[in-house]
């Protein structure tokens, strides 16, 4: 396998992807995806579609022991499916780093501006128009019912998400203490104002006679943590954003690609490697896929002491499953939720009605209604007639969006609408913004 270490970012990543036949579907609908294991890229062995289909049988996923194969239906049912192929995780312990290595390899000494420079290089490799983002775009277009305009907008935003000003601004803001900006804690030991003597210090004075121990200035430093990020695939940028936040604080990040955004995860793996094969952040990073709930893998990764922090995004069963098994490891849960809007009567007056509808629909359509901050229920303060008028206007505004950014409702979403309309929500007045 050609070594990406010898490449220059950009061109070399492009040629590596082409030579290895990665990220893009081949003529048979096979998509080969690399993973990153502590800085080393691993590409899956080549496998024919016939062999892959034979291994899958009627299942949607299989781990053959050398490769993992996943079947995803194309949006156009007549076009069949794509098969994603990734290397098997044969030894999950490889995804865990030894904390004693942090300083030995330089990770613990990285300064904030070095982190920002590294992330900028990653962003340059992932930004709009690159071979990596084009792959994300192509596969999203084929598989997801999100209008491509959303994907394009998100990929455009990626470059700024990796910009040094953004990285350092977030560090300064979110790691700050008092008036001390966050990057100071990453770069140095920061002296803080002495705290008043505590209870035990006063008791010490009694033990030794005289007054309590005089306060001494405390010094604080932000240490690296080993972080496991289990991410969601309702948007291809979620694994990337989750990784940015982990890497920004000098984390040794192991990221689980979501099944719904495998190509984005693989693109991130390539970008991290391309941004600096020997960089400490690359050497301590892993981006891999395993099937959620696989006890062989997760039993090891969720064991006490394996990670210092766990970040979980996703569906209720995924979040519940991980949070039930992660013991006392500090865990951040990005639970599934949905947003609602409460629209007062004042916003429905003749002078504001159309603006309110436009804003309500904009809030509803965040990531094509799939983001947890998308407002999925609009409560309006009015009588039934006013509610009907508002619903009609919302349907018209949605149709306007649909004209500009056409979307294809997935079979699953279409089925959900049909079921709701003929069961639990049959009593509602239904307004449609077009044929499914």
């Amino acid at each position: 396998m050609p070594e990406i270490a010898t490449m220059r970012p950009g061109d070399m990543v492009r040629s590596f992807v082409a030579e290895q036949g990665l990220l893009y579907p081949d003529g048979n609908g096979m998509v080969r995806l690399p993973i990153l294991v502590r800085g080393e890229l691993r590409c899956p062995e080549a496998i024919s579609r016939e062999r892959a289909l034979s291994a899958l049988g009627t299942d949607e996923y299989i781990d053959t022991g050398t490769v993992q194969i996943m079947r995803r239906p194309l949006l156009d049912p007549a076009a069949g499916s794509q098969l994603f192929v990734l290397p098997t995780i044969s030894n999950p312990k490889e995804l865990i780093v030894d904390p004693s290595d942090h300083f030995a390899t330089g990770l613990g000494r990285l300064r904030a501006n070095e982190i920002a420079e590294y992330l900028e290089r990653v962003g340059a490799l992932l930004g709009a128009g690159t071979v990596l983002s084009d792959a994300v775009r192509e596969v999203s277009h084929a598989l997801d019912d999100t209008p491509i305009a959303y994907v394009d907008a998100a990929l455009d935003e990626l470059t700024s998400a990796f910009a040094p000003a953004h990285t350092l601004g977030a560090i300064d803001r979110e790691l700050s203490f008092g008036s001390v900006p966050g990057r100071s804690f990453l770069d140095d030991w920061v002296g803080l104002d002495p705290a008043p003597a505590g209870l035990t210090a006063r008791l010490s004075g009694i033990v030794h006679g005289g007054g309590p121990l005089p306060p001494r200035a405390a010094r604080v430093h932000a240490a690296s943590t080993r972080q496991l990020h289990i991410t969601a695939g309702n948007s291809p940028v979620i694994p990337i954003i989750s990784a940015i936040r982990g890497l920004s604080v000098r984390g040794a990040v192991t990221l689980k690609m979501p099944s719904g955004a495998l190509v984005a995860g693989a693109a991130l793996a390539l970008a991290l490697r391309g941004a600096g094969p020997t960089h400490p952040l690359t050497r301590f990073s892993s981006v891999a896929y395993w099937r959620g709930g696989d006890e062989r893998i997760e039993g090891t990764l969720l064991a006490p002491e394996a990670f210092d922090r766990i970040v979980v995004w996703g569906a209720p069963d995924a979040v519940d499953s991980v949070s039930a098994r992660c013991g006392r490891t500090k865990t951040l849960l990005f639970n599934p939720r949905y947003g609602v809007s409460l629209i007062g009567a004042g916003a429905l007056g003749p002078d504001r009605f159309h603006d309110t509808v436009r804003r309500a629909v904009t809030d509803a359509l965040v990531w094509n209604q799939k983001a947890c901050i998308a407002s999925l229920v609009l409560y309006v303060e009015c009588d039934a007639e006013g509610a009907h008028r508002f619903a009609e206007a919302v349907a018209a505004e949605l149709a306007h969006w649909e004209d500009r950014f056409p979307s294809s409702l997935s079979g699953e979403a279409n089925a959900a609408v049909r079921r709701a309309r003929r069961g639990g929500m049959r009593h509602g007045a239904w307004y449609s913004n077009g044929d499914p």
Binding site: G411, E412, N414, A415, R418, R419, R421, R422, G423, G424, M425, R426, H427, A429, W430
Partner: protein, 435 residues
């Protein structure tokens, strides 16, 4: 009586002859069966459009009020099982029975002029609806979200007639049934599927012993499923006393054995298994008279994760009660349907031609060529609620001939809940009082 109802009743009338030929002589003219159901589906569509607001609204929105294609009507207008629980549960808990009645009017052909004076329980609301001419059959899953199926006098009579005819068939006729003692692992009364079967059976048999000698109420079932203090009284009367109640059923079977009265044992699978287990723990067995039989209904899941296999149940009933494997009966049905499908010796459920079955995919689109999918049907006995219905069960529907010789549609293999559907059925109701 409305003109559309008259037309529906007239359209379904010839089906009775078809059902008789199917049941008695294993005969079925498929072309006539198909044509008659096309006619009844059209008649039902017109009746529902004229009288059931929720049905009419959907038909209107889809531009199908004047549709004359039965296949399209079944494909686009069949309701899912969620329709019968599409109310706001806070209305039940808040005793807002005016809101519940208003909801019910949406799915019922009857105008439901219900006097709610003094009504403060779900059972009281059901009684008030009954006085207004509509009886509510109910079923529940494990969450206590109760489904209510409104049957007017005509629909209720059709259901009871069908249940009775089905039971008489098991016994080999009404006269033969009168020689049996019935051991009924159900409540005595209450509009719930298994209780209705028991109620009809009690009218056919010589002696009856009920596991619960009082009616089942939706309030009790909901309280039991939801837990909390409200459940305690109900649970004390049921779960708290269950071992003694099982012993009384065992005593009743012993008395029948002593008197040489054949017994029919009716219950959900896990209940029958519980009784056999109790006998086993006591190192006891009962040799029931030769013609005794065992009739199972209500679903196979025990609702506690324990799955009982049919084969092991038949074996243990043979060992502990002396019922021969050939005297085992089972049927598949649900509260929303007036027709039950009996199982044959080849373990297929045969669908009587009183209904027209279909299987649909996740999007509720009927599958051409049959196969495995969500089970649905058109039931012309549903005169007061939409009888174009899609269940939450996954079945494999076939027209392939069966070794038993019964013609028409049948279900082969395991019946299981469709993904995401709550485990539900009479077995669920009974499981709520198992503890």
């Amino acid at each position: 009586m409305s003109g559309t109802l008259d037309a529906l009743l007239a359209a379904r009338q010839p089906l009775q002859e078809l059902v008789t030929g199917w049941a008695v002589a294993n005969e079925l003219d498929m072309r006539r069966y198909t044509r008659l159901h096309q006619e009844t589906t059209l008649a039902a569509h017109r009746h529902y459009c004229a009288t059931i607001p929720a049905y009419r609204t959907l038909a209107e929105e889809l531009g199908m009020l004047d549709c004359t294609d039965p296949d399209e009507i079944r494909a686009e207008l069949a309701s899912t099982d969620d329709l019968f629980k599409s109310y706001d549960q806070t209305w039940l808990d808040g005793k807002d029975f005016a809101a519940m009645t208003s909801w019910l009017r949406g799915i019922c052909s009857d105008p439901l002029d219900v006097d709610l004076t003094g009504v403060d329980t779900i059972a009281g609301w059901c009684d008030a609806c009954d006085r207004a001419g509509v009886r509510l059959w109910f079923s529940s899953g494990t969450t206590g979200h109760i489904s209510f199926v409104p049957r007017d006098r005509i629909a209720a009579a059709a259901l009871e007639r069908k249940v009775e005819a089905g039971l008489a068939g098991i016994f080999g006729g009404v006269q033969a049934a009168a020689e049996f003692d019935a051991v009924l692992l159900t409540f005595q009364g209450g509009n719930q599927g298994l209780a209705t079967a028991a109620d009809r059976m009690s009218g056919l048999t010589r002696n009856q012993s009920y596991l619960y000698d009082f009616p089942i109420t939706p309030d009790g079932i909901r309280a039991a499923a939801k837990g909390g203090p409200a459940a305690q009284g109900f649970l004390d009367r049921t779960v708290g006393d269950l071992p003694a109640r099982y012993d009384r059923m065992i005593d009743a079977m012993n008395r029948s054995a002593d008197a040489d009265h054949p017994v029919i044992l009716l219950g959900a699978p896990f209940q029958v298994a519980d009784i056999c287990r109790r006998l086993e723990e006591r190192g006891d067995r009962i040799e029931l008279p030769e013609r005794s039989m065992h009739f199972v209904s209500g679903g196979w899941k025990s609702f506690e994760g324990e799955k009982i296999s049919r084969e092991s149940l038949i074996t243990v009933v043979g060992e502990r009660l002396g019922v021969q494997p050939g005297r085992y009966h089972e049927s598949y049905g649900m509260t929303e349907c007036s027709t039950v499908s009996p199982m044959c010796a080849s373990e297929r459920f045969h669908i009587p031609p009183a209904i027209w079955p279909m299987v649909v995919d996740d999007a509720l689109v009927p599958m051409s060529g049959l196969g495995r999918g969500r089970y649905g049907f058109s039931d012309p006995d549903a005169t007061s609620f939409p009888g174009l219905f899609i269940t939450g069960d996954e079945v494999e529907l076939t027209l392939d001939p069966c070794a038993c010789g019964r013609p028409g549609f049948s279900m082969v293999g395991e019946i299981r809940r469709a993904p995401g559907r709550e485990v539900k059925g009479c077995g669920g109701v009974m499981a709520a009082v198992r503890g």
